[in-house]
């Protein structure tokens, strides 16, 4: 299970501005390729999906494979036309979902 995610984005932006969003979530991302001390394969357990939406509309998402490093870092952009709320969701192989929210305001 992933820990509380870390998200970095500006608190406010001008209308039409493109902002950068950085996200990081703690997770082993067990690739399924490794073996334990007894030589038995360790089953795969990764975050296989990440999605970001703004005011309910999709902004960016991705499907992740075992080739993604531990503690997956994902950086992307978003165009701000109105104030609102970003919602982030990380989906684990075991079906659990970690979510987070961040608000952004419009600069006067």
């Amino acid at each position: 299970m992933a820990d509380k995610p870390r998200i970095k984005l500006p608190k406010e932006a001008k209308k039409g501005e493109i902002i950068q969003i950085k996200t990081l979530v703690s997770h082993l991302m067990e690739s399924g390729q490794r073996k334990d001390a007894q030589g038995k394969p360790i089953p795969r357990k990764i975050i296989n999906k990440f999605a970001c939406e703004f005011n309910g509309k999709p902004v960016f998402s991705c499907v992740l494979e075992p080739a993604i490093s531990a503690n997956p870092y994902i950086q992307f952009d978003a165009k701000i036309d109105e104030e609102g709320t970003f919602k982030f969701a990380w989906t684990d192989d075991d079906g659990s979902v970690v979510t987070a929210e961040e608000k952004i305001a419009l600069k006067a």
Partner: protein, 150 residues
């Protein structure tokens, strides 16, 4: 029973080395499903060179975490934007790396992730535009310490 002379001892030793090295060499062959994944993504259509900038280190000392930055040239308007970008690594045990999905609300078709590379290999990106056109780019990364396996 004759004693083994130096030449025979050398040959025996050589044979042993060859036996132990060969299976490893066989594993190092790019033998994953990279071509299959690309075909599924493109529907068999040819992807043109261009539009994509891939930022990957030429030499990755640690294959466990290799920074990968992508940028695709596109106005990112509702009628002309980058829809999806597929990444495959042709020398990993599984070729799939990630598929990134953009929308006009992304503003830019840019993203950064960190990936695992098991050995020296090519990382291939294929971008699918909203009009269905395809672009591709590849980069070779030399890996000093592999990022998969135990």
């Amino acid at each position: 029973m004759g004693a083994i002379n130096r030449r025979q001892a050398f040959l025996l030793g050589g044979g042993f080395v060859a036996l132990t090295v060969m299976p490893m060499a066989a594993n190092a062959e790019p033998s994953n499903d990279a071509a299959e994944l690309i075909k599924t993504f493109t529907g068999g259509k040819e992807a043109a060179k261009g539009k994509i900038t891939l930022d990957l280190p030429e030499i990755a000392e640690n294959g466990n975490t290799v920074p990968l930055a992508l940028s695709v040239e596109s106005p990112m308007t509702p009628d002309n934007y980058v829809k999806e970008v597929l990444f495959v690594a042709d020398g990993n045990p599984n070729a799939g790396v990630a598929t990134l999905m953009f929308t006009p609300m992304s503003g830019k078709a840019e993203a950064s992730i960190r990936i695992r590379l098991a050995q020296t290999q090519n990382v291939i990106a294929i971008a699918k535009m909203s009009d269905g056109s395809l672009f591709t780019e590849r980069k070779t990364v030399k890996v000093t310490i592999g990022g998969c396996g135990g």
